[in-house]
Symmetry: C2
Subunit: 457 residues, 2 copies
């Protein structure tokens, strides 16, 4: 009988190998609403790439399932380990290794949080522009799920900001991909392949991230609309105007009233307008020049009025910040209100009205409450599904995914497939593509040790 | 003996299968300076995805090497076919299938040229922002090489603009990846994997491209510098200022005098400044507002003066257009002047001065003339190497690549590895990565029919 714990202790020093009761509950789950926690056999906390390599060599030799863990804020169960398997927790690899102001780059370890990075980059008047809404999330987790967030309409998502990686393969081999440049055509783009692979292809030990100048001035405009369709019809017009919005969110009235109540926020919308509103559009802009921002706000206000908004409000800075924060916390509000599952389907933004009409139908058919909000600018719809019966809920969820895909969309915009959306993914995705992905998986990880049960069975 | 031509004729109709003398010379080469043309056994011109699928089924069954061809403007020999193999020419699949103004998307077939797309998008006041400099290039070729160009400092490169693909696998299976959205986390990103794979993983039959509002106003600033190092030191400062330059090019004096003479262009730089200049920085900006552009030009001029520019010239629109065009034609000028090979190394932009110092040393050591220019904003250096002796030239080229990689760069920023840079690539790239890529290749193309000899042996 091999003493795996002893081997792992040789690799990372025994104090960083947890077994049995020493393993805290947190290591057994992420934030997915529906996932069943599992108890790993080992939690290891490597302090260096060399240690990660040594750990994977052991795992590969002894066919031990390995699940990487950043902050555990994922929403699809990708960080739920195999029972008895190994969790590689990156909590000790949390250094910002460099802020390179010449190349506008940050080099980070996977355990660095978004909050940590934002604080450091702010001092340089730079910004890492991906804000998925959970500031305690780790960059490693962001890379694994290709995290998005509200600012994708301007800056794209994680994969657009990661220029290179250091990653450890299942074999323990360490590779470096990409670099401090935005372009290269030298073989297959392993950086992009690893991003979004949810820990199934390699463990990321370092990421090279693109930074941007941090514009000093921000403004947020709120516009209630009587019809959801008008909100989404306004979106391409706003984008085409060239103002380059940072955020373009729609929030349905139910969700708006719950999230503002949650933080005690009064946006100053008069009751008569509130009553007639069916959805809100939130537009945030940023600019290095205050006067240009003012001019853009003015132009946007006029444009929104012409596009059917009931009124237009320029929010005071504090109320704007609170609203964005409240919007970011929508998952927690949904959870606190007893949501049974959540969805983050992405559809072509022009199809949002059609999609939402179908959502209403599906909710009615299966007597389920479905409320939500979404990134109108990029077509990523976040819905909370309230339906305690698992069979009914399956029908609702499957209906939502089928509808989204039929409109040219995809099951997940930013949360990932993980373990919790896998059933739907495998049922609905083209089997040719799934087979191809399985072969790619085998090319990276022939023994299937990396995050088994995620994406595929 | 199987009559392959007859089989192919069944797949695409006999008039679109060329054999023997009917095959024009052009099908045997691309624009790589060093590649030896080859004569394919068959040139097929499919008219639809279904026909491409049928062709690949035949090729796969009979193990016929397949090389895809767009406009044949590639610079690394990736479109040079196998002798006796099959060229799939996309000349008939050249339709812009849709300009979707709601989602800001173009759907194109692979044979569409950049010129064709630019003309059509202009009518909608939209733009596909990748300008690799050769307007006759096809979108299929751009996807295969992940084409870049001067505007990468603002918009990134092809991979940042391609949201989805239709592609035919070696088996003939047709897959659709991505869609009309900027974000998704539903399995491995096959779109990104196929982009830049130089025809070795799949044949692209349709691409979904991101479009942007087309700003109406442009301005171009020219600044001569007495030291190259000052040019590159100016770059991060300009980027950090937040003006968001569209183009940030440096051009050495030798290259500048040759390319301007080539088109008879006088930029109005007085002789005494010309004499003292060692390199030029060209900054192009665009804006939807003329007044903002003027303000930015003013601010940039002051900034450049402070950064060591000998003088600052705002070019008249026509001179600016001519300069950019002349810069885009630098390859043709180099070719006409007898360049023996070209390089498009990418390095972190902060290392350009170190890199160029080494380039001078390498040139001196091997008595070779090396002249160039580059995308200062993104670190992509274009060099022409004048050295007729193959052995000496190998040493020069290898020296350049080693130097670039030692500085954290990569062999090719946008031209690709193809067949012509393969030797250097396989000598210098981490063998662990090359092996992994070979396994990925095998996952897509088990019989190795797709563009054999490109990237790998």
């Amino acid at each position: 009988m091999i003493d795996v714990a002893a081997l792992l202790g040789d690799a990372v020093s025994p104090e960083h190998v947890l077994i049995g009761d020493a393993i805290g509950d947190d290591y057994g789950h992420d934030e997915a609403l529906t996932a069943t926690p599992e108890t790993p056999g080992f939690v290891v906390r490597p302090g260096s790439t060399g240690e990660v390599s040594a750990l994977l060599q052991i795992a590969n030799e002894h066919h031990i399932p390995v699940t990487a863990r950043g902050s555990g804020t994922g929403l699809s169960g990708a960080a739920v380990p195999r029972a008895g398997g190994m969790v590689v927790s990156f909590e000790r690899m949390n250094d910002i290794l460099e802020i390179d102001t010449e190349n506008h780059i940050a080099v980070v370890q996977p355990g660095v949080t978004l909050e940590q990075l934002d604080e450091v980059t702010a001092a340089y008047r730079l910004v890492y522009p991906v804000f998925p809404g959970e500031y305690s999330a780790s960059l490693g987790g962001n890379v694994a799920t290709n995290a998005g967030g509200m600012r994708a309409v301007k800056y794209g998502v994680t994969r657009h900001q990661v220029l290179g990686l250091e990653a450890v393969l299942a074999s323990g081999d360490v590779i470096r991909t990409g670099g401090r440049f935005v372009k290269a055509t030298t073989g297959y783009d392993l950086t992009q392949l690893i991003i979004g692979s949810e820990g199934t292809l390699a463990l990321v030990t370092e990421a090279i991230l693109k930074l941007y100048p941090r514009p000093e001035h921000q403004a947020t405009v709120l516009a209630p609309f009587p019809v959801l369709e008008d909100v989404t019809r306004a979106v391409p017009a706003i984008v085409a105007s060239g103002i380059g919005p940072l955020i373009l969110e729609y929030i349905d009235t139910r969700t708006m009233s719950v999230i503002t109540a949650n933080v005690g926020l009064d946006l100053g919308v008069p009751p008569d307008i509130k009553e007639r509103a069916l959805a809100y559009l939130v537009v945030m802009m940023e600019n290095a020049h205050a006067d240009r921002l003012d001019e853009d706000v003015q132009a946007l206000g006029e444009q929104l009025a012409g596009l059917g908004a009931l009124d237009v409000y320029v929010l005071p800075a504090q109320a704007a910040a609170q609203l964005i924060e409240a919007r970011e916390k929508v998952f927690w509000v949904a959870k606190a209100n007893g949501a049974d599952d959540i969805v983050d389907i992405v559809v072509p933004r022009s199809t949002i009205p059609d999609f939402m009409a179908k959502v209403a139908e599906i909710g009615q058919t299966h007597q389920s409450l479905i409320a939500g909000c979404g990134h109108a600018g990029d077509g990523n719809i976040h819905l909370s599904v309230f339906q305690p019966d698992p069979e009914q809920r399956y029908k609702v969820m499957r209906g939502l995914f089928e509808t989204g895909m039929a409109l040219g969309g995809a099951i997940s915009g930013e949360h990932g497939v993980g373990k919790e959306k896998k059933r739907y993914y495998l049922e609905l995705e083209d089997p040719t593509k799934v087979d191809l992905m399985r072969r790619i998986k085998a090319a990276f990880d022939p023994h299937g040790i990396l995050n088994p049960g995620t994406l595929f069975d």
